[in-house]
Symmetry: C2
Subunit: 345 residues, 2 copies
């Protein structure tokens, strides 16, 4: 805060709030002053905040966070408060500015906790590993039970059920199962299509607040040669990227290493998304591992490496693993094999 000449930080992103004090509900505001911290929420969360919130004074408001903040800031004079402009609506900032007039200046401060959150500590890593373990066991179980009539939706549902049976709180995001030509739709919602040809499965587990994110591409029945070839290229691209991962490397260079491999094979235009993203309390967080990213990798960062090739009308392939940046290089957190044959799992 001192660097930014701020007397305080206002947290509105629920993942930041969970990170700071442990609250797992879905509506709250945190005010961090230099010597004290406050947790503000409404009466729906009275009991849950009493149970969960650690290290902050809890304040229940009636009308909204502005009213609670007015009370706290009364005694503090006009101070500079940083807020994350990406984690609060335009309407909310206008409203807070009105209510805090004369008490605080609101200063946009992007991703205030993002760099802290990007480096995971041992407790966080343990939770992430647990998510991955559940996700992998579920995948193996479901792949072993695949029938010739299984549809995209059924596979997605079975994955979800298996994960919940194993203790997952939830899926981390809507599962993607995209088979045959639908594999070219990067964010396809599972349909009633039977699984045929190259089938992209992208799934994750949410547990204890943390998340996992993995993709595999299975060849089910006749699969176009071009997609089998694309799968080989994607695996090679992933290897090239892994080689560049170490503390101090630029995230953009890691993306470039994978992208060059795909481009050299002639599929540059078919890899239309970034190579990866941090995963933790949010499924997409720092670091951004994509072209032009100037972020520097640091020990303890956890992110995905997920090159893909998508051919409209034909289908798609994607392989996505989670890695941890360690002093000596990357540790693969994902332990699943990567083959297209269901019997590989």
């Amino acid at each position: 805060m001192a660097d930014w000449k701020l007397e305080g930080l206002l947290l509105t992103r629920m993942a930041d709030i969970r990170y700071i004090c442990g609250f797992s509900g879905s509506s709250a505001t945190v005010l961090l002053l230099r010597r004290r911290g406050y947790f503000l929420t409404d009466s729906r969360y009275r009991e849950q905040s009493a149970e969960e919130v650690k290290g902050l004074e809890v304040l229940i408001y009636r009308e909204g966070p502005g009213e609670g903040l007015r009370k706290i800031l009364d005694a503090n004079g006009k101070i500079g408060l940083g807020f994350d402009p990406e984690a609060v609506s335009y309407a909310e900032v206008l409203s807070l500015r009105g209510q805090l007039k004369g008490k605080a200046r609101l200063v946009p401060f992007k991703g205030s906790l993002a760099s802290l959150r990007a480096r995971k500590d041992a407790g966080e890593l343990e939770k992430i590993r647990r998510c991955i373990e559940i996700a992998e066991q579920s995948f193996r179980e479901v792949v072993a039970g695949l029938g010739s009539d299984t549809t995209e939706m059924e596979l997605a549902f079975e994955l979800d059920m298996e994960a919940r049976k194993r203790g997952a709180d939830d899926r981390a995001f809507d599962t993607i199962v995209a088979s045959g030509p639908r594999g070219a739709l990067v964010h396809a919602q599972p349909s009633t299509r039977k699984l045929r040809g190259a089938t992209v499965v992208d799934w994750g587990v949410n547990h204890g607040g943390y998340n996992s994110d993995t993709s595999r591409t299975l060849a089910l029945g006749r699969t176009p040669t071009v997609l089998r070839k694309a799968h080989q290229i994607v695996l090679e691209a992933q290897e090239r990227a892994l080689e560049r991962i170490k503390p101090g490397a630029r995230a953009g260079e890691v993306d470039a290493a994978a992208r060059e491999t795909v481009e050299r094979a002639g599929f540059g235009l078919n890899f239309g998304h970034g190579l990866g993203h941090g995963v933790g309390l949010e499924v997409h967080e720092r670091p951004h591992v994509s072209g032009g990213s100037h972020e520097t990798l640091e020990e303890g960062m956890v992110f995905t490496v997920e090159p893909g090739i998508y051919i409209p009308g034909e289908g798609g392939v994607r392989v996505e693993d989670m890695v941890l940046v360690k002093k000596q290089g990357p540790e693969l957190l994902t332990t699943l094999p990567r083959g297209m044959d269901p019997s590989d799992y």
Copy 2:
């Protein structure tokens, strides 16, 4: 738009976008000008938007919506564009203002489509009824299978599974199952607690973009007399509220009718939330049925009526039904009985 002296509307709320053009993905921007409409998204949604978007010209951007909008607006001079300040982050507005400098003025315009969306047409009602049907069948099935060892989490999971088996796309929100003293936590997450005493179940189904939202309170084993009494009061409060529902009534009066009943019984301080909310493409939308709401009920509106009583340390009860406003009064869309005894279902 003419009333507001606007030449266009910028839509950023995904439910508004789905309402206007049918797109079911999770990232897009729509620009409605007086004579033309544009749908802007990134390349991940190229194929999905080609499949789903009706009535708008589709434009794929590389960098972000600002870049796409600059191209469209080049020829249009400096125009006033309304945007929903609650559906866009502060950072995004700053970025768009920068990119559209000299081309458009961005004018906050709260809930631009909210009043349109609040009145459901026949096709929307059919989808909502289907959600409710799935939700009710699932509840009956799960209640019939309750064992003496069933936990909150298991009940929540079973409800979810049954709904998905019956064709639900998803749950509408995280299912609440709060048993015994935990019933006093309005937004409790299901725990590993075995179901004992008054058990609040609040669940919904998402299907075809639409949602349902229902709550029931079951008495499982010994249940404190005060909570059985509270349940009676809540049922009466719901009746009083239903009597006031008709086109032209103020939403605030409907809330007041229920609240007076609860207050007269001495539980006024234990009913700490609004009476209800609209349900449609979003689980919480217009109308707001709460104290001080000046919204006027109109034919075709669909909302919840959900009085509750919460006694810290003791437990809680809530009964929530969905109603449709018709010319002659409310139609209950929820058809489940309301008793506390599992055998009622």
